[in-house]
């Protein structure tokens, strides 16, 4: 049966608005990722810190004592968000580095731009998928711990739960947008090889951490040095969100400024594809 010989008639139904086409891009990527067993394993592995910290919450609640730190306070979240960036790094190394470079390498970008899709929708679709992946390893564990505290601690009221959830959401969103925009910018900038983008991402992440430590410990520079390292920017942001430490303020400012810069640079880069393609 062919569509025309079977009296196929032109589609006169309603179609989704052009402004929602980014969802089709994000959905295609998400279904591809969810079929990957390594992706699923990594998401499951990212739950390990949540399990361990949940155990601490349980023990602290029944023993009614801390362990040099208070699992029933905000410390548990700062500890969680010191671990989770590593899972984002691993996830993006394996599954995020090729999101744009692969489209360029395979020529799929040409096909996408022959559809009624603008460069902004394309960018939005790619950012959405990485943000969703990052939220899987940041937002969900954070919410689970907040609920665990609420369930285990009698003094932890509903408003405290809402407050904790809000902070978890803000921290996870900042992490996700920052890391996603940085990864996509690397993927869009470093040629058409996914491996190059992945290697640069991983090496830069570790080297910048080492640089921050050198600046801070060896050269005796102050807490401002955290802004050179993506990892320390994220840890500082979590400190700021959960503890309100004023020396972590530069990290919060940096994560917002970096994210905005990366997103603008990414948009300019993707627009340049449309032109250069051309």
């Amino acid at each position: 049966m062919s569509i025309y010989r079977a009296q196929y008639t032109r589609y006169h139904g309603r179609i989704e608005s052009p402004s929602s086409r980014y969802q089709a891009i994000a959905r295609a990527e998400l279904s591809r990722l969810l079929r990957d067993k390594w992706f699923k394993r990594l998401v499951l592995m990212s739950g390990a810190p949540t399990l361990i910290l949940g155990l601490y919450i349980y023990l602290a609640a029944i023993l009614e004592q801390g362990f040099g730190w208070n699992p029933l306070g905000n410390d548990v979240f700062t500890r969680l968000y010191a671990w989770q960036p590593w899972f984002i790094v691993l996830m993006f190394t394996g599954f995020g580095s090729g999101l744009i470079s692969r489209d360029r390498r395979t020529g799929a970008l040409t096909l996408i731009f022959t559809r009624p899709v603008s460069s902004l929708q394309y960018l939005l679709g790619k950012v959405c998928i990485l943000v969703a992946c990052a939220l899987m390893v940041t937002l969900i564990p954070g919410l689970i711990l907040a609920l665990a505290q609420f369930a285990m601690q009698t003094t932890f009221g509903f408003w405290q739960l809402l407050d904790a959830m809000w902070r978890v959401f803000a921290t996870s969103a900042l992490f996700s947008v920052f890391m996603s925009s940085l990864m996509l910018l690397l993927s869009a900038t470093l040629g058409t090889s996914s491996r190059v983008a992945a290697m640069v991402w991983l090496v830069a992440f570790i080297c910048l951490m080492m640089l921050k430590n050198i600046l801070e410990n060896t050269l005796g520079m102050g807490p401002m040095t955290a802004v050179v390292s993506p990892y320390d920017v994220m840890v500082g942001t979590a400190d700021m969100c959960f503890s309100g430490q004023s020396d972590a303020l530069p990290s919060l400012v940096a994560i917002v400024a970096y994210s905005a810069f990366f997103l603008v640079a990414l948009y300019v880069r993707i627009q340049s594809f449309e032109r250069a393609h051309t």
């Binding site: 569509i3 589609y11 608005s17 022959t114 051309t278």
Partner: protein
């Protein structure tokens, strides 16, 4: 939020040209890829022919709206091809090179591409399935779990065609769709192009395989070095260049005797004896020449074993125009 799809109406032969190119030029830096091309393309299949680097792919990308003309304008259905994304629902583009997500199945890939037109999941899957079937993939291949990376060249070409067809566009731009396909696939794709043209769609097909294009359509656009050489069917083009010498090759027993007879006629501009039993006659009036040769041969008592014209096919026209 949703919007209505307004179908483009067709009304047979008087349907206006879907594509209008007006003095279109395209430069890549200092290199000119297309030079002042003016043409109109209406419903039916048209073959776009030219040697490598002639500007075929550039012209197709300009029509699809992937690139902006440096000078001139290209319009589709009266609207500029470049910078009008909503127009793209009426265009299906099959690129020359593979443009796949290799780890997706053919059905998933075509569905993902169709969804970018705004169809919901159910509609997009149904359309993709039907389109893959129409291009000649069988049900087991369509529903199989094999990723595109493991497809043969012919299957990949069909998937590329299916993604161009699935949203039922008015204009199909096919860049070298026959390249690398086996004879069966070539036959299927040729049939498909013919049927699409018969449905009233505007199908532009570029190819190097002149004989294959000749089998699909007799409407051609010939371009070379970025310039439009000719547009029309082979006979029209041949007629246009008939004032130039047309060659007739003869295999016969006494070439010198016939050569003497031919030289004496007003419509023969030259005769070359190419071997002991062969000659080539050049004429500006091929019909008159074909009529006269048998009687001249009889008068000279010459037996003609074979008479052919190397200039009477598309390849010769093309060779003549591009030399």
């Amino acid at each position: 939020m949703s919007i209505d799809v307004t179908p483009v109406t067709r009304s047979g032969p008087e349907y206006p040209s879907a594509i209008v190119c007006s003095e279109v030029s395209r430069w890549y830096g200092k290199v000119i890829a297309l030079n002042g091309v003016t043409l109109e393309i209406g419903p039916g299949v048209v073959g776009l022919l030219g040697p490598n680097g002639a500007g075929k792919s550039t012209l197709l990308k300009l029509i699809v709206g992937l690139i902006r003309p440096t000078n001139g304008s290209i319009s589709l259905f009266g609207r500029p091809a470049f910078g009008t994304p909503e127009l793209r629902i009426h265009i299906g583009y099959c690129p020359e090179h593979d443009s796949f997500y290799e780890n997706m199945t053919g059905l998933d890939f075509v569905t993902a591409m169709t969804r970018l037109h705004g169809f919901d999941a159910h509609e997009a899957t149904a359309r993709s399935h039907a389109a893959l079937k129409r291009v000649g993939l069988d049900t087991s291949e369509i529903n199989g779990a094999k990723a595109i990376g493991a497809y043969s060249k012919g299957m990949r070409q069909k998937v590329k065609l299916a993604q161009a067809l699935a949203h039922d566009p008015e204009v199909l731009v096919l860049d070298e769709p026959l390249t690398g396909t086996d004879p069966v696939s070539r036959h299927q794709i040729s049939d498909l192009c013919r049927s699409l043209g018969a449905e009233g769609k505007t199908v532009i097909l570029s190819s190097h395989v002149l004989q294959e294009v000749e089998r699909i359509t007799d409407e051609f656009i010939l371009i070379d070095k970025g310039r439009l050489l000719a547009k029309g069917n082979v006979r029209e083009i041949r007629r246009l260049i008939d004032q130039h010498p047309h060659r007739i090759e003869l295999v016969l027993d006494k070439p010198r005797l016939l050569a003497e007879q031919l030289v004496g006629t007003p419509f023969v501009s030259g005769v070359t004896i190419t071997g002991e039993c062969s000659l080539v006659c050049e004429t500006a009036k091929p019909d008159a020449c074909y009529d006269a040769i048998p009687s001249l041969a009889r008068a000279a008592n010459v037996v003609i074993r074979k008479m052919t014209s190397p200039d009477n096919n598309l390849e010769a026209v093309f060779r003549y125009l591009t030399r």
